[in-house]
């Protein structure tokens, strides 16, 4: 769907009407056959001891998603204030040693020493598809969302490229390309700055019953995909059997990507290059603990107010009766 200024306004009005009519709600079922479930939450397990760093997954990701890569319009609009800088990767599409708008998966290498033995690990890095994704929860525009399969995706048709998703992501995964997207049709100099891109775990292929390209092509079978509860059990078992370590089960409140490594992740994290486009592997707590607690207060508040208001009215009526 292409969006211009007119269809944007029409969609906004339709959205308002739809929301008033009553939102539907689905509950993601992890392998359950609940009638309300729309899909089974899928997770992936990456056995890092198997990855040889051949890059086949990176190439497959590029081929599978090339038709969705941004084709920016140049020159870019002049931005106000001037502190807002363009992010342009369109002339650096071949960069494959970090995440970019044209490279949604890359291989990170960690080498060092652990327990008196040297190690070298290759780590395919991409979006981890959080269970409670900050990018989707905090996107003010509805461009980022989580679907019933546990896939977190950014809608490139409506994303304005404000980069908030990247700021709130504990791993700063999404990457921006300027000169493309809806902002060009709204207020190109004053709002937005392009579109954010990241792995959506080949959402279209998965929806059609297929497998993400990176998993399908891997010659070593590094990745396994399946229902989250089964994959998590498999990841725990693998870690236990090999004396390995698990990453992703609790990080950021739980993700749908599990890494199992023979080396502790704090050691791995020390050994990898980190920085823009190169995410860390440090421990990450749940950033939404307070919000989730406050959510209960938000649900209870109208009822509490209603009861107080009704009591106030009844007391007022009783007081009037007493005066009569």
């Amino acid at each position: 769907m292409k969006i211009n200024r007119r269809s944007f306004l029409a969609t906004g009005l339709a959205a308002a009407a739809g929301a008033v009519a009553g939102p539907a709600q689905g509950r993601a079922a992890e392998g359950s056959s609940s009638a309300s479930s729309v899909a089974v939450v899928l997770a992936t397990l990456l056995d890092l001891s198997k990855c040889i760093g051949c890059g086949a997954c990176v190439e497959a990701c590029r081929e599978a998603n090339a038709h969705r890569y941004p084709e920016p319009v140049k020159p870019f609009p002049k931005m106000y204030p001037s502190r807002v800088k363009a992010a342009d990767w369109s002339d650096k599409r071949d960069v494959n040693d970090r995440l970019t708008p044209y490279n949604w998966l890359y291989i990170q290498t960690a080498s060092g020493e652990y327990n008196g033995r040297t190690f070298e690990l290759n780590i395919p890095r991409r979006c981890l598809h959080c269970q409670n994704p900050p990018c989707a929860n905090l996107c003010p525009w509805g461009a980022a969302s989580k679907d019933g399969r546990g896939i977190v995706a950014i809608n490139d048709e409506i994303c304005l490229g404000g980069s908030k998703c990247k700021d709130v992501c504990p791993w700063h995964i999404p990457e921006r390309q300027t000169g493309v997207g809806l902002y060009l049709k709204l207020a190109p100099s004053f709002a937005g700055n392009g579109v954010m891109y990241k792995c959506d775990r080949c959402q279209d292929r998965v929806a059609a019953g297929g497998t993400p390209a990176c998993i399908e092509v891997c010659p070593e079978g590094v990745q396994t995909i399946g229902p989250r509860d089964k994959i998590l059990a498999q990841a725990r078992k693998l870690a236990e059997e090999t004396g390995g370590f698990l990453y992703g089960d609790t990080e950021n409140g739980g993700t749908n990507t599990f890494y199992v490594s023979p080396v502790p992740f704090d050691v791995v994290n020390q050994a990898i290059d980190k920085g823009p486009g190169r995410p860390h592997l440090a421990s990450v707590g749940n950033p939404f603990t307070t919000e989730d607690t406050l959510a209960r207060a938000v649900y209870a508040a109208p009822l509490a107010g209603l009861v107080a208001g009704a009591l106030h009215l009844i007391r007022g009526a009783a007081s009037e009766d007493d005066h009569e």
Binding site: K146, G148, G254, E291, A310
Partner: protein
């Protein structure tokens, strides 16, 4: 607390909700507000999110409390529009809170619809409230 004090708290809550709501957009850092000494927090998305939730709870207590009183009043078309605007803001806000629960998901289209509708209802509420205030002032001037 007297009625005047409650009204003041209500207005401050609404203003703070508007502020923390707009802080959900990446604009305060872009447009220098976060550079002003003492205002760096305006660009802290997580903090503003928590504040927005807390303030929403306070607002909902107020609105719930006022609902039985409002039901007793005679409805004018302006009052009805104002109530519908509030209802829209509240309904879409509650859906957004639900959406953010870890074990709940909505379709991407619904997420977009609710987000845009929330913003739309806030703008509608602002316009209707302004119209209400102007009408009240005109009426007061005419009465003098």
């Amino acid at each position: 607390m007297n009625k005047r004090g409650l009204n003041l708290i209500f207005r401050l809550t609404v203003f703070a909700l508007l502020f923390t709501g707009f802080a959900q957009m990446p604009i305060f850092a872009r447009y220098y507000l976060a550079d002003v000494p003492g205002f760096a927090w305006t660009a802290d998305y997580y903090l503003n999110h928590i504040l927005h939730y807390g303030l929403a709870a306070v607002l909902l207590v107020f609105l719930g409390w006022r609902l039985p009183l409002a039901m007793k009043r005679r409805w004018t078309s302006g009052g009805l529009l104002l109530t519908l605007s509030w209802a829209g803001v509240v309904a879409t806000g509650l859906v957004r809170v639900m959406k953010n629960q870890p074990d709940v998901f909505f379709s991407p289209n619904l997420v977009m619809a609710v987000d845009w509708a929330h913003l739309g209802f806030v703008m509608l509420l602002g316009a209707v409230s302004l119209g209400h205030a102007l009408a009240a002032r005109t009426k007061a001037d005419a009465a003098q």
